[in-house]
């Protein structure tokens, strides 16, 4: 993975740039000591690291605007950062960039149960948004597995999803408005506490724009009343095909579970060794969760179990207590940790049409043989969002490269069957160079034209999303303008 060469003239101006940032921020909000900027050298895609020129931690929208104005005048690239849990390298700095972290901006600004929204500063973590409304039995629906750590800022930038988005949608479906600062320091309000934005749906474009259009400082989020209860069933099959067919039948039958999760044999075995959740030793395992009152849960689960039985499961286990429900989820939730404990892994997240599941799983198995690296699959099956985890050993020369090549082939396969490169993690640097497999030049050109409107100088997170050679002339403009 290549990053553009840093601009030496910016690095040479570091003292002046840092001094100007100090003028607009409290003293402890500007970090430029190389020992401390190391803390911002990567996100959760740890294979790639580079300390930034400096990092700033503003406390409110005004300070963000002041910082951006300075960076604009100085022609310095800015990389916005939430909690740094991106798996795509979205928050990876370059040596000539300023990291703008929103972690200190974590206040709840307004909670309105009658109108069912909460307004927060975007540095607030995903889980603590629910935390702020929980005592009134409300919650914020999108629930990425990283929810304890990741910030709303990053969720908006990546349009993050989670296990329960089959029913509740992803971030964009739960985001009502933002306050955002453009790179020149202009503050804009998009959407708000009312449902429909007038005019073009700019909010819709900002969500998922990976920190390239503006720095989002405040967000209005839809909150929902908690369901009366929820319960999972665990269904084991002796083939991926059959499990895939069961998923399709559940969806067609009109039951709308909140989650349908899928794990394949390598994943089941690894998590079983790691977490001892008591999973059956089978080829494919589904966890299906439904919500409602006792009677409603029973009604839905009866339908689901009927469908499951028609496909001859090797195991069909319904939770009868909270404890059993937790055990059903235990292995699924521990899956990533389990993989991490045996090996380095790369987590992909291509999405495919649900009907293509069996074929794609079979092809991944074959490719695993070809590349000589093991793969475990654990993913959101209801919406076709795959998470193949490719296992490799980072200390063995060449394995990272083999793993990346293998990953690229899997993602191309996803596109080939009618899917896409990324369902929730974003493009970042990781999938940047594959964009031309999904999009034609005109498709990418118009996306870049949108960035031209919001950030004409291409200073915000410039080396992400678009293949470097495709964005080359635009990024060069920024350097020429200095």
């Amino acid at each position: 993975m290549q990053m553009p060469a840093p601009d030496a003239t910016i690095i040479a101006r570091k003292p002046r740039i840092v001094a100007r940032l100090r003028q607009v921020l409290p003293p402890d909000a500007v970090i430029d000591d190389p020992a401390e900027t190391r803390a911002y050298e990567c996100d959760a895609l740890t294979a790639y690291r580079c300390p930034p020129l400096a990092a700033v931690l503003p406390g409110n929208t005004q300070e963000v605007a002041d910082v951006l104005r300075v960076c604009h005048e100085e022609g310095v690239p800015v990389v916005p950062r939430g909690s740094g849990t991106s798996l795509a390298g979205g928050a990876l700095p370059t040596a000539d960039s300023v990291i703008l972290g929103v972690a200190r901006m974590n206040a709840v600004l307004e909670t309105d149960y009658d109108n069912r929204f909460i307004r927060v500063q975007t540095g607030r973590t995903n889980l603590s948004v629910t935390g702020a409304v929980e005592e009134n039995d409300f919650f914020y629906a999108p629930d990425p597995s990283s929810q304890l750590a990741c910030a709303i800022a990053g969720n908006i930038a990546m349009n993050s999803g989670g296990a329960h988005c089959l029913k509740y949608g992803v971030t964009t479906n739960n985001l009502m408005g933002v306050t955002m600062v453009l790179l020149d320091g202009t503050v804009v309000e998009l959407g708000g506490a009312h449902l429909d934005a007038g005019g073009l749906d700019l909010l819709g474009v900002v969500c998922g724009s990976e920190g390239q259009l503006g720095v989002v400082t405040e967000a209005t989020l839809r909150i929902l009343r908690k369901p009366e209860g929820a319960r999972p069933v665990l269904i084991g099959y002796d083939s991926n095909e059959v499990a895939g067919a069961c998923v399709s039948d559940i969806i067609k039958a009109g039951v709308l579970p909140v989650a349908i999760e899928f794990m394949d044999a390598p994943c089941i075995r690894a998590t079983e060794d790691f977490a001892q959740a008591g999973y059956p030793d089978c080829e494919a395992l589904l966890i299906v969760e439904v919500e409602g009152s006792e009677a409603e849960i029973a009604e839905q689960l009866t339908k689901i179990k009927d469908i499951a039985r028609r496909h001859n499961p090797v195991e069909l286990r319904e939770a009868t207590s909270d404890d059993e429900a937790a055990r059903i989820w235990l292995g699924r939730k521990a899956a990533f940790g389990a993989m991490g404990s045996i090996n380095d892994y790369m987590c992909l997240d291509g999405t495919i049409p649900v009907s293509e599941l069996p074929y794609v799983l079979k092809r991944i198995g074959e490719m695993s043989q070809e590349f000589g690296l093991a793969v475990a699959n654990v993913f959101h099956a209801g919406d076709g969002n795959m998470h193949p985890l490719i296992l490799f050993n980072a200390n063995e020369p060449g394995q990272l490269e083999t793993c990346e090549a293998f990953g690229a082939e899997i993602l191309k396969l996803c596109v080939e069957v009618g899917g896409c490169l990324t369902g929730e993690h974003g493009v970042g640097i990781e999938k940047r160079d594959l964009m031309t497999d999904q999009y034609d030049p005109a498709d990418l050109e118009i996306q870049m034209a949108v960035k031209d409107v919001f950030d004409p100088g291409w200073l915000l997170n410039p080396a992400k999303v678009f293949p470097l050679e495709v964005s080359q002339s635009r990024r060069a403009r920024q350097i020429a303008a200095e």
Binding site: D114, N115, L190, A295, E296, H380
Partner: protein
């Protein structure tokens, strides 16, 4: 002009030398001066995969045709697009491209989402005649910028849609509607908030100050499996035990009632201007009150738990002057009012600059439905 293929459409747009009026079914009355470009030649279902809940369809396909295909599989468009013909006195068969271009969404928007939330992918031709795609046909997709949302509700000003992919949902087995009688507007919005803030998954909440028999009625809809619907209807009824409540479960009556709300039937055939106002639910009763005291309100219908209010006024009154915290669209108006009052709420300067910037990139010559969103 009426192209039969995307390529022919691209050809026509690149050869165009003046403004184009893009027309789908022609039922939504957003005409501009220019050569008429009809999308009706781009017609047909490209792919329908009920097991993946996805439908890919050419933009000029009539909505009827789509609804019939979905019905055959027990599925539907959950965002419940409004039919504008009765309100606007138009004819023609609404097309799916028109629905998407207007982000047309009905009462279920509060629970299921708007048209844009169900739109998975688009193909369109921009103002230079280039064919562009964005999104796809899968339910989760964050590959590149989300221009899918941008195209929804862009009213043909960014490009001419040629094909759209939509997420569809199963039709529920049963539905019921609570009818609460006799509430004042503010009480009704409070009651709807209470219902929407309950765990009972309300899929519609509307209020009319003067229902079919002239008295206020608040409507609360629930949908799902039979047992679940009757359980939730009972629970909701208990929440409003001190009110005059009736529960309607007759399927035809429930759907007719919600069609009445969706299509704003109380304002059909009347002569006033019709405004569609989107605000925080708890703010709408005060707005309506303020307008009533000025004496030019003819009728009112609340939807989305109060977050949407349809207001019929005497012709030619501009309600945006009433310090409105949200936005108001002038959906139906006399020619005189149209000439004076913009259809869409003008945007604040920095946002308008971004919107204009985007329009210039997508349609540098300014030939696609020029001015539809800004005049």
């Amino acid at each position: 002009m009426k192209p039969e293929t995307e390529a022919a459409l691209a050809e026509m747009i690149s050869a165009a030398d003046g403004p184009l009026f893009i027309r789908g079914g022609g039922s939504r009355d957003v005409a501009v001066a220019g050569a008429v470009l009809e999308t009706g030649g781009l017609r047909g279902i490209t792919l329908y995969d009920p097991g993946s809940l996805t439908l890919v369809v050419k933009a000029g396909t009539p909505l009827d045709e789509i609804e019939a295909a979905l019905e055959a599989e027990g599925q539907r468009l959950a965002f419940e697009p409004m039919d504008h013909r009765g309100l606007l006195g138009t004819s023609g068969a609404p097309s799916i491209g028109g629905v998407v271009a207007g982000n047309i969404s009905g009462p279920r928007r509060i629970q299921a989402g708007a048209c844009r939330d169900f739109l998975l992918g688009v193909r369109f031709v921009d103002g230079m005649g280039q064919i562009i795609k964005n999104g796809g046909r899968v339910m989760k997709n964050v590959t590149g910028y989300d221009l899918v949302k941008l195209m929804a509700g862009s009213w043909g000003t960014l490009g001419v849609l040629t094909e759209v992919s939509l997420k569809v949902l199963p039709k529920p087995e049963a539905a019921a509607c609570l009818l609460i009688h006799g509430l004042q507007d503010a009480e009704a919005v409070a009651a709807m908030s209470k219902a929407l803030g309950s765990p009972f998954d309300v899929t519609g909440a509307a209020h009319t100050p003067s229902g079919v028999d002239g008295h206020p009625v608040t409507m609360i809809r629930i949908e799902g499996f039979e047992g679940s619907v009757s359980y939730r209807a009972k629970k909701l009824r208990e929440m409003f035990a001190d009110r005059d409540v009736r529960v309607e479960t007759e399927p035809a009556r429930v759907s007719a009632g919600w069609r009445w709300v969706r299509d704003v039937e109380p304002m059909h055939g009347s002569t006033g201007d019709v405004w569609r106002v989107s605000m925080k639910p708890s703010d709408t009763p005060d707005l309506v009150q303020a307008l009533r005291s000025e004496g030019f309100v003819k009728s009112v219908l609340y939807d989305w738990g109060g977050g949407l209010v349809w207001i019929e006024t005497e012709p030619g009154k501009d309600i945006r002057t009433t310090g409105l915290k949200g936005h108001a669209t002038l959906v139906r108006a006399s020619d005189a009012a149209r000439a004076r009052i913009a259809r869409f709420q003008p945007e604040l300067a920095p946002v308008a600059a971004l919107s204009d910037g985007i329009r210039c990139k997508f349609d540098p010559r300014g030939i696609l439905n020029p001015g539809v969103m800004t005049q």
